[in-house]
Subunit: 394 residues, 2 copies
């Protein structure tokens, strides 16, 4: 039977991404992968998981295994309200929706906001998972320019002046893929612009809690609450396999997100939401976060030191105060794909940066390096190998 005629036209925007092929290489035995984007399993609070599950079974019993509200498990929404208050974000229960990971939030926002051909503004480079969520709704992407301080506000203003857009999508803190953070002054400017042009902004903040030095920067949501949909996740500070994300949005948007989610998965796992509620309200997140930071900070330092020591002077890289990634830029015309092919032969993998651009043929000389999954010694070794191969390609 030929199934192709049965496919929806939107599947033309959902083609097998080349990055899947790249990430397949990663599981080859002996490969040192700086390619992934996932937390280290030793960052999970495994020592308390048994206690947490026992507590949930005792406290909620069969309620934790029953269907629940689409909006989310009430104790988790309450715990998140308290959690967000500490970050200067005020929310009511009606403004919080629990999503199945951040990905579930991105899909839902795409579904209720994007009609075919609608324009949305994204950073260049931007988060690949957002593109994968939005693509089936067939938008057009407008790329906004960035520098070492993230989004350049003038680039946003130019788009707001000349184009009718549905929304702006940003990862302002420790961005994936660059690790960059937009400083306060720029955030204020961005907030002012979206208010002036009455635009909608999606602020995706999966990494904000992973800060290894420096002071937290206020969210754009806190600067322009009515114009910003804020997204968070427990994937980096609890456990990604539980698939718990959340959206803080104005009530009318929340209303549509709830109707959307009803059709997509009814609600996120009650049991996992109950575990997350205990993790937050019991103070476990606060207690455990320093452990995660103690794990990642030296890994990031090891990677920065190795780059400083081994990499050719024609290359530059970001020096983030947190997150999971570094962004390396080679000289104009450098062939990062070629480096990738040769590096993999030497058992070191990374992601060529071009995959993070919504347009073709951009970022050809860039790469994303992840430091959370590998110990310091191995990172030092991998960067040394990468540097050697780089010199050969140069």
């Amino acid at each position: 039977m030929d199934y192709k005629p049965f496919l929806a036209s939107r599947t033309s925007r959902m083609d097998a991404s080349a990055i899947r092929e790249i990430l397949k290489v990663v599981s080859k035995p002996g490969m040192i992968s700086l390619a992934g984007g996932i937390p280290a399993p030793e960052s999970f609070p495994m020592s308390i998981m048994q206690d947490l599950t026992n507590q949930v079974l005792k406290k909620y019993g069969s309620t934790a295994f029953q269907y629940d509200l689409t909006e989310g498990f009430q104790p988790l929404r309450q715990a998140l309200i308290n959690h967000l208050e500490n970050k200067g974000l005020l929310a009511t229960q009606n403004e919080i929706l629990i999503s199945s990971g951040s990905q579930g939030g991105l899909d839902a926002l795409g579904k209720i906001l994007i009609s075919k051909g609608d324009k949305i503004a994204v950073e260049a480079p931007t988060y690949l998972g957002a593109i994968q969520a939005f693509n089936p709704y067939e938008p057009e992407y407008l790329q906004m320019e960035t520098d070492s301080n993230g989004l350049i506000p003038e680039s946003l203003e130019q788009i707001l002046q000349s184009e009718q857009i549905k929304f702006v999508y940003l990862v302002p803190t420790f961005q994936n893929p660059t690790g960059r953070t937009i400083p306060l002054a720029r955030r204020q400017r961005i907030a002012e612009l979206i208010c002036r042009y009455d635009a909608l902004l999606i602020e995706d903040d999966p990494y904000g809690d992973l800060r290894y030095q420096g002071d937290a920067v206020p969210s754009i949501k806190s600067l322009a609450p009515e114009h910003v949909v804020y997204m968070g996740t427990l994937s980096k500070t609890f456990a990604p396999g539980l698939r718990i994300g959340y959206i803080l949005a104005p009530e009318l948007i929340q209303h549509w997100l709830v109707l959307c989610k009803q059709g997509v998965d009814l609600h996120t796992s009650t049991f996992n939401q109950a575990l997350a509620a205990e993790y937050l309200s019991g103070g476990y997140l606060q207690a455990h976060l320093p452990n995660i930071i103690r794990l990642y900070k030296p890994r990031q330092e090891a990677m920065l030191n190795a780059l400083d020591q081994h990499f050719p002077s024609e290359f530059s890289w970001s020096r983030p105060e947190g997150g999971m990634f570094l962004w390396v830029e080679g000289p104009r015309g450098f062939d990062m794909e070629k480096l990738y092919q040769k590096a993999v032969q030497q058992n070191v993998a990374f992601v060529p940066g071009r995959f993070f651009y919504s347009q073709e043929n951009e970022g050809l000389e860039t790469m994303r390096l992840n430091f959370t999954m590998t110990d310091e010694q191995t990172i030092e070794k991998a960067i040394k190998i990468l540097a050697e191969v780089t010199r050969k390609v140069l």
Copy 2:
């Protein structure tokens, strides 16, 4: 800020359903609800939940909390292959996808198959959750006629002859809302028709395991494997709050479902999939299913007996051999909405049948009754009240 201009055009198909309003009434104190469609919490295997979570923590450790394959947790897919083999369904790992509940499967199928305006054929009445999943993809529905034996094959044939359709959607066993099961001879005829017309059929089977008497009927999938996508769930036989469903589909369709799911939620909760894998592979499902049947069978009998005893002779109802619902039909012109309003005043709720039709003004004299959430004595009392109110409305 006015958010309406930001909404995607597809939201016009996602409006707040009146059934939500109906189900809100259910939570009123003192209300006896025959309206819901959810399993009794006392049907969950709570006595083994602690053991299951302990086993998962011990066996899989941090792997159960890490990101996992979009396709699904390998041990669960393997356990499902064995489970399905017992039902005469042969599958490879590449043909099984774990979805976030059946709802996640329905959304994914809608997303990869339905372009705006595409026609899909559904039973009249049909499952409301499927309509909610498909609606955002803006299909047109063609209604197929049913009788007490479910779908009438001639009605399907008429559509296949005259229309280009994307797929047929059926709940052939203990259907929601009617409780009806399509007998083998009709299934063979349906299988033959979809093969002859090279059509695609989605067979949704959430209730098949809840059989209280009679013999299991082969799935349509087993009769036309290449033309059928089969969907199952553990929501009725394990715990709905864990959100574990699955899809058995030909490989090319599976390929697109995986790409789709990557953008929607990356994967279903690893922890919950690991719990489900232990539940199936440890023989717990097989051991526990008789308990669920022992709980529901007398409830269904109590409801049938009460209907026989109290309801006016102008009414008829289905007598399913399993599932969660009965379907009651009043005489032509009977105003079920009026009955609903009056019944709620007497603290008995149900769902008027018209909500289960994809077209307006159909099924006005029908109602769906759920018997899983209420004990026998309360069912008897509720049906007696309903019968009294019915006589007043007649």
